[in-house]
């Protein structure tokens, strides 16, 4: 099922009634079980694109198919709420959306909105808190008295408690320290592998992209300029024009093969580089 974009354009209207194309004629299909990373410069339309996946924005032209629903909605009876249950969208700095008295109540907010009973919601909330690694003991605390990294976990748990089929994340590691960032990414990877969730992720960090993403989309000026695997991305002819960096391990490999004459092989993570070098060393 997943999400299909069908020639989708979205125009913002300026002060003088002029229009800006945020995204332009995008056709795209994301299937269940994928792990997609979206990269691109600031202002390339990434956030606009992912907001369409949750029916937060209605396309100016074209249609978006979100599981069994089509946006814009054709008949008046269909409510937009249930569509949003299918796709959980985590915004940049999601910790700002917290508001309840206790962490548990805040996590329960989403499930309650979608009509679950108090008991069911609490069950889902406790489960989600466990998934993101929140201690049972802090669930009764106020969400404003914990650290920034913890707050982000609470916010993400709030989305996970709605049990969406697809998780869309807008720069989830932004503003976190390296350790927190690694833990966060490990969490999403676990959700993807163990729980079979579809993950769509916006990030600027090419190390994250190269390590986790099975499919990479690169956006530029409202269009998709690249759509494929990491193996193809870094050898693509277009790569120079995409304004992206190569991952750390990849650059190290390039440097080693240039200076010490190691035969070049694509590596994406430090572990792969180490394994390759050990193999070459033993020969």
């Amino acid at each position: 099922m997943g999400i299909q974009f069908n020639q989708v354009s979205y125009f913002y209207r300026g002060v003088k009634n002029e229009t800006y194309e945020a995204i332009n004629q995008i056709s795209l299909a994301i299937q269940d079980g994928e792990f997609v990373a979206i990269c691109g410069q600031t202002g390339s339309g990434k956030t606009t694109l992912v907001q369409h996946m949750n029916a937060l924005l209605k396309p100016t032209r074209g249609t978006v198919q979100i599981y069994e629903h089509t946006i814009p909605i054709q008949d008046k009876k269909t409510k937009i709420g249930p569509i949003r249950k299918k796709v959980g969208l985590v915004f940049q700095f999601p910790e700002y959306q917290l508001f309840e008295e206790t962490i548990l109540k805040d996590i329960m907010f989403g499930p309650m909105n979608f009509g679950l009973s108090l008991k069911e919601a609490e069950e889902k909330a406790r489960h989600a808190a466990q998934l993101v690694g929140l201690d049972e003991a802090i669930l009764q605390k106020s969400p404003f008295r914990i650290s920034g990294g913890q707050m982000r976990r609470v916010a993400i748990a709030g989305i996970l408690a709605m049990e969406p089929e697809m998780l869309v994340l807008d720069e989830p590691t932004r503003g976190l320290d390296p350790k927190g960032s690694d833990e966060m990414m490990a969490l999403f990877n676990e959700l993807h592998i163990k729980h079979g969730k579809t993950i769509v992720l916006i990030t600027h960090d090419m190390d994250i992209v190269a390590r986790y993403a099975k499919r990479i989309l690169v956006m530029d000026k409202g269009k998709i300029k690249f759509d494929g695997t990491r193996e193809l991305l870094f050898i693509s002819d277009e790569f120079e024009k995409l304004h992206l960096a190569k991952p750390q391990a990849y650059r190290m490999m390039e440097y080693l093969s240039k200076t010490l004459g190691y035969p070049f092989k694509q590596v994406f993570t430090e572990e792969e580089l180490l394994a390759y070098m050990k193999a070459v060393h033993h020969e």
């Binding site: 949003r84 959980g88 915004f91 700002y96 959306q97 508001f99 989403g110 709605m162």
Partner: protein, 324 residues
Amino acid sequence: MNNITIGQYVHGDSWIYKMDPRVKIISLMLSMVITFIIPSFTLMSVLLGLTILMVLTTGIPFLKMIRGMKALLFLLTFTFIIQIFNIRTGDLLLDVNMTLGFASIAAMVLIIVLYNVYKRRFKYRATLFLLMAFSLFLVQYLLPYGKIWSYDFMIYSDGLYRTGFLLFRIMVVIILSSLLTFTTMTTDLNNGLEAVMKPLEWVKFPVAELSMMLSLTLRFIPTLLEETQKIMKAQASRGVEFSESSLKKKISQMISLLIPIFIISFKRAEDLANAMESRGYVIGEKRTKIDVMTIQYLDILTIITLIGLLTVVILMNTGVLYAI
């Protein structure tokens, strides 16, 4: 909410844009005084004519001005009716027998109901409103059946003059004040107000602080709107849909919007205060301005003309000069 404009500034490049904001504010005050003490209907119509002429030279679309007046349409109509009924001096111009009866009251109710049902579909709602108000009286004249109470609807010449006088006065005031807001940027307006209120510092009124507060408020309206929109979207993806939920739910959903915005604004205020202090801002200290306002010939001319006009009007009021 995307393209909300703060203030009503209309971008342009005519003589009025080049004027000093202080002079504009003082001119507005002077012309308000003139408008309120002007003695006769003829002079008031001349004043209105001059005002309209002035609007035409500033390059502000006249229709935009009219649209600004629409909000006051109800008040204007109400004033008109009250005045017509109240003033009974001068020559009798019109005398019709009106009947309040079962037929006419039913018709009036019907008209009001129809108006409220259908007004959304019409483009020219102001015209429709006037038409509605007029027809309310017309049915009283046309349907004298089932009489309960009847009265004479009389229009006197003085009534018309006085009503016209009042309407013209309101129009001049609205046009002039909207001219100020249309042609002055909020920052200029704020600077001008600060300069005009400067004398109040003699009585320990915190003018500089007030104007700093005002400019910060204006600066942060768009930012807070943007934040609000972000939070709204974030809560929408957690299942908050304002248009689709019941009233009871709406209240609890409102809280999910208000608390994050409060927290963000407090955080922003704190950051801003720190940033200002680290750049040497001290409350109440003397500060220099980046935009220095200068008075030009046009400004002097405007002030002199207005003071001249004011003197003439005062002389007319005191009887030294004969008012037309």
